[in-house]
């Protein structure tokens, strides 16, 4: 997983490559948790341009990040979603729940 973070004031952007599935979602959850505990960002943007695939565990992780950001009064946005990932999100209605740019 090629993880990159960019911080600009209270806005942070995270991008990574590969897939987001039951095989790596816990690892990613830890990384995001560590990132958020050490950075007081109000807006977190996930750039999914290089994420080719997501399963229900990966979707669960995205929901949990959105919940965390909402609880701390922040915003969670997703950008550059691939067609495959968008179609999978759509199956559960999450394409409308997430703020996808």
């Amino acid at each position: 997983m090629d993880w990159k973070e960019t911080i600009n004031g209270q806005e942070a952007s995270i991008s990574f490559s590969g897939k987001l599935t039951f095989e790596n979602s816990s690892e990613l959850r830890d990384k995001v948790k560590n990132f958020l505990s050490s950075h007081e960002v109000k807006t977190l943007i996930f750039d999914l341009a290089d994420v080719k695939f997501v399963d229900s565990s990966g979707l669960g992780l995205l929901v949990s990040i959105k919940n965390t950001m909402t609880k701390r009064g922040g915003v969670f946005m997703i950008k550059s979603v691939t067609d495959t990932v968008r179609k999978i999100m759509k199956q559960t209605g999450l394409d409308k729940y997430f703020d996808i740019g």
Binding site: N24, V63, N67, T84, Y97
Partner: protein
């Protein structure tokens, strides 16, 4: 610890023979074998290839008794070589694996190799194939075999959990998942059996709406039901069968 090794068989042909009775489902009154016939002979490097003129599957490769210590790269290069030399539009992949991340990884990577060579599987359908496979395998391993509580699944990675189990409950990691995947130019079919106690699948299949959007889990079977053309469980929920027709 009773060790379980990864075993697989890949059968390729240019047309799906009607009398091979690929398998299942109870839907058409025909029930296939839940335990694919896997070979007993073991090659030195764990790979054995067979071409039989009599078989409806003109090309057959068997991946035998691989442990987590074997190099997957060597295995995958042999699988690639096997697939490169065959002309096929139908592939059947049988596999038996333990509840180990290295074996799940081997299965995923072998399946990727097969899918890459089937021209009728476009990007969208490829996504659905791996969605089916991921949901089925994670259900079989997490829920069926290891019964990992939801709280633990979100707290530690599967590899960390596996490490702990290796120390405290190694026998659980030997619990099997048996799987058959069929690709032909018209359909995708999959059957996955775990070694657990089953679950109330009727209740899960009755659900016609996704969980609330802020819920972090509970989408797996819903997604399978939504995307597949047919889905059913057998054996108290220990076996999942699903089918999808390609729509390009």
């Amino acid at each position: 610890m009773s060790e379980i090794r990864f075993q697989a068989k890949i059968q390729l042909s240019t047309s799906r023979s009607s009398d091979t009775g690929v398998f299942c489902p109870a839907m058409n009154g025909k029930r296939g074998s839940l335990s694919p016939e896997l070979p007993t002979a073991v090659g030195e490097d764990g790979f054995f290839r067979e071409i039989s003129a009599d078989s409806p599957y003109r090309n057959e490769a068997r991946l035998l008794g691989l442990s987590c210590e074997h190099s997957q790269e060597v295995l995958l290069s042999k699988v690639n070589g096997f697939l490169d030399e065959a002309a096929f539009d139908t592939a059947i992949l049988d596999a038996v694996l333990g509840s180990r991340s290295c074996m799940i990884d081997a299965l995923m990577r072998i399946t990727e190799r097969v899918v890459d060579r089937l021209p009728y599987i476009d990007e969208e359908n490829r996504g659905y194939v791996f969605l089916f496979l991921n949901e089925a395998i994670s259900n079989a391993v997490y829920h069926g075999n290891l019964k990992i509580p939801k709280e633990c699944r979100t707290k530690s990675s599967f590899k960390e959990y596996e490490k702990e189990m290796h120390e405290y409950q190694p026998s659980l990691l030997a619990l099997r998942v048996t799987l058959r995947i069929v690709f032909d130019p018209v359909h995708f079919e999959m059957q996955v059996t775990d070694s657990g106690d089953g679950f109330d699948f009727k209740k899960r299949l009755r659900r016609n709406h996704p969980p609330a959007p802020d819920q972090e889990s509970g989408r797996g079977i819903f997604i399978l039901k939504k995307v597949a053309d047919a889905i059913t469980f057998y054996d108290k929920g220990k076996t999942l069968y699903l089918r999808k027709r390609w729509r390009n």
